[in-house]
């Protein structure tokens, strides 16, 4: 009997593993068959959102510390990497380590200030610190070029020995880097959830005082959670900066970015391994479709809306600006009707369908 259950358990685990491997293999094969730069661009954005959502998830989802200031880590990572590359000719794959080091210092300072506070006060403090970072980057214009931003003009060619690995001229190397980083963050989340560390984190999330009375060192574990989360967010920032080739305070250090990072995780499903992936898969294509006016054109082509009519011109001119509106509407709907996020909703739906069949 016991052996039967273990074999069944291992069988379902094996199936999961096989499906996962096929999926990952398929993702790695995509650039061989897809040459459209736009399709690759969308995929890269999905990877980027996944990295951001997963890394926030470790602090916000597992440890229960709702930071709305993650743009600080994203921005410091992005700025360090780009500044070292532009001003000191340090290649990004080395600069990113400096970025992580800088972010860890920042995280330690922010953590020592903000983790004394709880609940809404922690949220407010995290926002204030991120805003101080943004305003500093704007005002220290001799150091960071201020609001003007920094344009990354030339990424050095990546060479190991004599062999040219990549020259970063197409989107393909970015695709592979993004995919690898996304898999890395998912793996880190998995490792956190299945380790003692993860149990400490969740104990702090569920009841900080109870966790404290059980002997868990609260400040230490909150800071460990922040360090892991900030490091991964810095990776996302560096990757974004090199991919887009431009950083300025109002994109990489803004409150909007902090909110967006939180939303990817919340809309997908907070405190779960695959929630942020689902969030990124839902949000990126939707907001890109709006941004590129694909939805408006779709409406015209299908004949629902006449492009020459007043509604048509309104849609053509304005729908592209509405991509953030989608985030707002989605988060309101998710909070009101699917408090466990899209992933939780889909799981419930799946369970109900199974029940109906049986």
């Amino acid at each position: 009997m016991a052996s039967a259950t273990t074999s069944r358990f291992s069988r379902s685990a094996l199936i999961k593993l096989a499906v996962g491997l096929v999926l990952v293999g398929g993702l790695f094969a995509v650039p061989r068959y897809v040459s459209s730069p736009y399709a690759l661009h969308i995929m890269i954005l999905i990877f980027l959102s996944t990295i951001m959502g997963e890394s926030w998830n470790i602090l916000g989802g597992y440890t229960g510390q709702y930071s709305v200031g993650h743009a600080a880590y994203f921005g410091v990572g992005a700025y360090t990497t780009v500044m070292l590359m532009q001003f000191r000719q340090v290649p990004p794959w080395i600069g990113v380590w400096a970025g992580i080091a800088a972010v860890l210092v920042v995280a330690l300072i922010i953590g020592s200030i903000c983790f004394r506070l709880r609940g809404p006060y922690f949220v407010l403090a995290s926002i204030a610190v991120a805003e101080i970072m943004r305003l500093s980057a704007t005002n220290l214009d001799k150091f960071t070029k201020g609001a003007e931003g920094i344009l990354a003009t030339e990424i050095p060619v990546f060479i190991i020995g004599e062999h040219v690995v990549t020259d970063f001229l197409t989107k393909v190397p970015f695709y592979y880097i993004g995919l690898s980083l996304a898999l890395l963050t998912i793996a880190v989340t998995w490792a956190v959830q299945h380790s003692k560390l993860g149990y400490y984190f969740q104990a702090i999330r569920e009841d900080q005082d109870a966790a404290h009375s059980l002997g868990i060192n609260i400040p230490l574990y909150k800071n460990i959670g922040l360090a892991i989360s900030a490091t991964l967010t810095a990776l996302a920032g560096s990757f974004y900066a090199i991919y887009v080739g431009f950083v300025d305070p109002s994109t990489v250090l803004s409150l909007d970015l902090s909110v967006q990072i939180v939303l990817v995780c919340i809309i997908g499903g907070i405190g779960t391994i695959y929630g942020p992936v689902v969030g990124a898969l839902a949000l990126v294509p939707l907001s890109e479709a709006l941004r590129s006016n694909a939805i408006a054109e779709g409406l015209f082509k299908s004949g629902i809306v006449d492009p020459a009519s007043a509604t048509g011109t309104f849609l053509k001119e304005n729908l592209a600006h509405a991509h953030v509106l989608i985030y707002g509407i989605l988060v309101v709907l998710v909070i009101l009707f699917m408090p466990e996020g899209l992933l939780g909703f889909l799981r419930k739906l799946g369970a109900r369908l199974k029940q109906g069949r049986a």
Binding site: Y66, V68, I113, R116, L117, R118, G119, P120, Y121, V123, L124, A125, I127, A128, V129, E131, I132, L135, S136, T138, N139, L255, D256, V259, V262, L263, I266, N318, H321, A322, V324, L325, Y327, G328, I329, L330, V331, V332, I335, L336, P339
Partner: protein, 288 residues
């Protein structure tokens, strides 16, 4: 000395409007324990309302308060009944996210309707000033300060003297006990959110003649509103009024003595210091 006096006076005058924003936020927090991240966006809606009333009908921005306040009050009651009411017992994080989402919806809807261009509401007196003892004082700021003072006084009277006001304060003190005393807590929540939105909208109307109007202006003021309420003590109306003046003065002092780019940093640093060393605020009870 003149520079000092002048920046002190203009700081106090701007602080009056900040106080109004802070009082709205603190009222909502006091009664419902909800931190409203859409507060600045509600104020932004008030600014656009004032702008429309002025540019389409020609109503003076200060006079338009009489229209803006009731309209924004209704908007607040509507938001409370339809959305906020559903998350009163949810996790605080979810409440915050709901209001963040609401704010995003408001600012982006305004962007669709008015584009993201900066609008300027220029009245005949927008840049006029008069001088007292060698320092020049902005006329629109003075008028808005006087209106603010009147509204704050009226609100204080309402909360202390009237039955409804006392019921609101009772609800803020202890929701369950108030309910046991026969107070309609749900109705009080609606009124409090309505008042909060009305005050934010009024602040928007008052600041419209001296500030740029654009869809993203809200987040700046949401943050300021938080700083103000935390300074004064979450839930304390008098505290928020004092907090508003402190923020106004430190901004204008920071702009004069450090640089205008760093003035917001000064405010945030004060904010963090208060959070760390006197988290209950100047006049609030600790709720940590």
């Amino acid at each position: 000395m003149t520079i000092f006096l002048q920046s002190l006076i203009s700081g106090i005058l701007v602080g009056g409007v900040y106080a109004l924003i802070g009082i709205g936020l603190t009222l909502v927090f006091g009664v419902m324990r909800i931190i409203n991240f859409a507060h600045g966006d509600i104020m932004m809606v008030g600014m656009y309302l004032t702008y429309m009333l002025f540019s389409m009908v020609g109503i003076d921005p200060f006079l338009s308060v009489l229209i803006t306040f009731p309209l924004m009050y209704l908007l607040g009651v509507f938001l409370q009944k339809v959305l906020i009411n559903r998350v009163l017992d949810a996790l605080p994080q979810n409440q915050i996210l709901l209001t963040i989402g609401l704010g995003l919806i408001m600012s982006n809807t305004m962007m669709l309707a008015f584009t993201s261009d900066y609008k300027i509401l220029s009245t005949t007196y927008s840049s006029s000033s008069f001088s007292v003892g060698g320092s020049s004082i902005s006329q629109p700021l003075t008028i808005s300060f006087l209106i603010t003072a009147a509204i704050t006084g009226g609100l204080y009277w309402f909360l202390v003297k009237t039955n409804t006001g006392q019921a609101i304060r009772a609800t803020a003190q202890d929701r369950e006990a108030a309910q046991l005393m026969g107070i309609n807590v749900k109705r009080m929540s609606g009124i409090a959110f309505g008042l909060g939105a009305g005050l934010a909208g009024t602040a928007g109307a008052l600041i419209a003649p001296t500030y740029y109007i654009f869809p993203q202006v809200g987040s700046v003021f949401t943050l300021k509103a938080f700083v103000i309420t935390v300074l004064g003590g979450m839930g304390s109306v008098v505290g928020a009024a004092i907090g508003g003046i402190i923020v106004g003065v430190s901004e204008s002092m920071g702009a004069v003595y450090i640089s205008s780019g760093w003035k917001d940093v000064v405010v945030y640093v004060i904010f963090l210091l208060v959070l760390l060393f006197k988290p209950a605020g100047l006049l609030g009870k600790s709720r940590m």
